[in-house]
Amino acid sequence: MSGRILRVPLLRKVAEAWPWWLLLLALVGVRLSKGAGFMDAYALLSRPFWPGSAQSEWLRSAQHLQDQASLQQLQRDNERLRGMLALDRSGAGRVSAPVISREPGGWWQQLELGKGSVDGLRAGDPVLAPGGLIGRVSSVTPSTARVQLLTDSGSRLGVWVARVQRHGLLVGQGTARPRLQFLENDTGVRPGDVITTSPASTLVPPNLLVGVVQSVNESLAPAPDAAVQLSAPVDAVDWVQVVTR
């Protein structure tokens, strides 16, 4: 029977072109599966030519540059708006200073910096380290400055919990973790909340990272308080920036 059919010339040609039918069937499969297999095969073949780590670094670098540019733009906007609100401090600059002596433990928590009044530092100037605010200048000599760390038991600083929009007072305890005291109940603060300087602050730069809430003592009367882990590593910092007025 089959031999009789193949004797028909047209059908015979169709039967002889079976590889093409198979190819057509495969292409239909590719179409119906949205390219599955095809793309996988392409990926396998083209893997040696994929962009390497260098190109990935370039992309990251470009992204970093873009972030920096947008950050600078935002800072400029922020300064302009703060200037309009008369919240800025005219002539504020930053002076890098080396840490020449540190005493993060013991009776006093303090740093000695290798720059002083000759470089424009004055008592009360905020001191920044990589990671955020670490303290304020307590006294200066012509070539040195003494910094009272936020952990010192005499340190008091008004801070801001952005997530719950609450002010608090960061009080040094003489330990590595200062306490955050609130003025009202039901603060809603919980571990992990980020502490910054107040957005309306004129004594220290606004919106500077200070630390993270570690634990909250809700049972304390009349208002709860929280233990705070500072974000800047005071034990390891070798250079700091002093915001001069």
Binding site: R102, E103, G105, W107, S153, T175, R179
Partner: protein, 167 residues
């Protein structure tokens, strides 16, 4: 007064106290607390040179150290008292060269110094957490007592030899 204070180089070693306080070597700390270098220097000095010299040395050290710290708490009264007390012990008692004695005196001195600072800070309202002060007091006394037998005995022998030669 003894003769040690007349030796300039012996007196000049007192400069090491503020320098070591500032340098605060990390390997000589317990739980982040440094020893009381003033106690470690004053103890052999007062034992050799007597109560008057010890009290004056305590005053000088205290004035310098007060200038190096935050706040108004002072180390002067206790350092003067310690200098005078140790000077009397050096004059009256048998020569103190045993490590045990030196270590014990250094621990007592460090505890007195720490307690005075603790009380001053507490009364000034600058010590919200007394436990932190107690931790500092215990750690400082411990490390001072551990270092005293090594450092103080060396200085004591050296200075006593110089004092014997000069007198």
């Amino acid at each position: 007064m003894g003769v040690l204070h007349r030796q300039r180089w012996c007196g000049a070693t007192g400069l090491a106290v503020p320098l070591l306080t500032l340098a605060s070597p990390a390997f000589l700390k317990i739980a982040g607390v440094a020893p009381s270098w003033a106690v470690l220097w004053l103890l052999p000095w007062a034992l050799v040179d007597g109560p008057a010299s010890g009290a004056i040395a305590g005053l000088c050290l205290g004035l310098v150290l007060d200038g190096l710290h935050l706040g108004l708490a002072s180390e002067v009264p206790v350092l003067m008292l310690l200098g005078w007390w140790w000077g009397r012990i050096g004059r009256r008692g048998v020569p103190i060269e045993r490590s045990y004695n030196l270590g014990l005196l250094a621990v007592l001195g460090s505890v007195l110094l720490g307690a005075s600072l603790l009380l001053q800070l507490y009364w000034a309202g600058q010590l919200p957490l007394v436990e932190a002060g107690l931790h500092t007091l215990v750690a400082q006394s411990l490390i001072t007592g551990l270092l005293a037998p090594v450092l103080c005995s060396l200085m004591l022998l050296r200075w006593r030899r110089i004092a014997d030669l000069r007198s």
